[in-house]
Amino acid sequence: MSNLAWIFTSTLLVNNFTLVMFLGLCSFFGVTAKIETAWRLGLANTFVLLITAVSASFLNAYVLTRTPYLRTIAFIVVIASAVQIVEMAVKKHVPVLFRQLGIYLPLITTNCAILGLALFQTSRKYNWIEGIVFAIGAGLGLTLALSLLASIRERIEVADVPELAKKMGLVLVAASCLSMAFMGFAGMGSG
């Protein structure tokens, strides 16, 4: 039990997927202009991460034991089809949510956080329960990082900054400070 709690806090804070392990940076910089889309995308990612964790542990246990070289291809195909199924299910049963997520739902396929989760889960040899906890921690950590950066960017919008820093430069420096703040958790759990 304490092992599961440690996996959860570790992926949520100490090894935050976006700010410390650099996964899912495209959406981190691409969709954080507004805080509403940021946390919604974060939650959609969490859901897909959950499905991926379960399917990846199933693939590892039953399909890929004799063909490890097919791992990358198998994972990406499963992720792409899982996203497609989720998209169709959401469209049929919760059309309101489907309209709110819009283009971001299919884009989750090429989010490296999803494939990264499957690969790290494999290299750390998590079983399926640990995988699910890992996925929830990673997803909530992603949502946290996206919301934090989106709030900072909404504030930067109204600030008076020099012309040369108007575009991504200042956002990257802000992300650096955010990442530095998360480095403060680095000592946790080692003692």
Binding site: T72, L119, K167, G169, A175, S176
Partner: protein
């Protein structure tokens, strides 16, 4: 920048959204300078940040991505008339994943140490939005020769940006280049630069320098016309 002169004959049927005809050198040059994947388009950020803590890692990741870009560009272009529109994204991903697996196995066989240092970030090239972006926006709409040129240009642009970033980080964070001590024993390394926040900061500084050049040039142009 003046528009390139059209020298390529239009012997193919018109494809909506196809890139304008251009000389081959221009297809290569565009990826290196005008549409540099990292510094202009901000694509493929995850490997850009994650593996640029040493110059060797940065160059290896750049070359691996170059290989996948060229290979997948060629095959996407060759098969563009046979892939149905509804399943095109999945097909592109499959082609890309095949080349990534090749790159992963070749790297593990030739440079096992670098392969171990990069870890899951080589298979993660599949999820690099640069690859799918070039397949969808360029390779699927032009002939194989132009797709090759574009893959080469984008790959070189990516490799150059990664090398610059990782050279800056290794030099400041470790005082060395390719693991060879450059700045001497008196230099106190800025360990911060090889840690995660240093990656964001180094790219932020590169972009700020680029922004400074661009605003200065724009101001000079305004003064020249006034």
């Amino acid at each position: 920048m003046t528009a390139p002169i059209a020298i390529q004959k239009r012997d193919e049927p018109f494809v909506p959204g196809a890139p304008a005809p251009a000389p081959l050198w221009f297809d290569v040059w565009r990826g290196i300078a005008m549409e540099n994947p990292v510094l202009v388009q901000m694509l493929g950020m995850c490997p850009t940040m994650a593996v640029t803590n040493t110059l060797a890692n940065g160059v290896a990741m750049g070359v691996a991505t170059l290989f996948v870009l060229v290979g997948s560009g060629l095959f996407v272009s060759l098969f563009r008339k046979y892939i149905a529109n509804e399943v095109r994204i999945t097909s592109y991903i499959l082609i890309i994943a095949t080349f990534v697996t090749l790159a992963d196995l070749i790297l593990a066989a030739t440079f096992p140490e670098i392969s171990k240092a990069l870890g899951p970030f080589i298979p993660l090239i599949v999820a690099n939005c640069l690859l799918l972006g070039r397949a969808e926006a360029f390779a699927a709409k032009v002939g194989p020769v132009r797709a090759l040129a574009d893959g080469l240009g984008m790959g070189l642009g990516f490799t150059l940006a990664l090398s610059a970033l990782s050279a800056l980080r290794e030099l400041l964070g470790n005082g060395s280049l390719f693991g060879i001590d450059v700045l001497g024993p008196k230099f106190e390394p800025w360990v911060f630069m090889v840690m995660p926040p240093g990656g964001f900061l180094a790219l932020g500084i590169l972009l700020l320098i680029k922004g400074w050049f661009m605003t200065r040039n724009a101001q000079r142009a305004r003064e020249a016309t006034a």
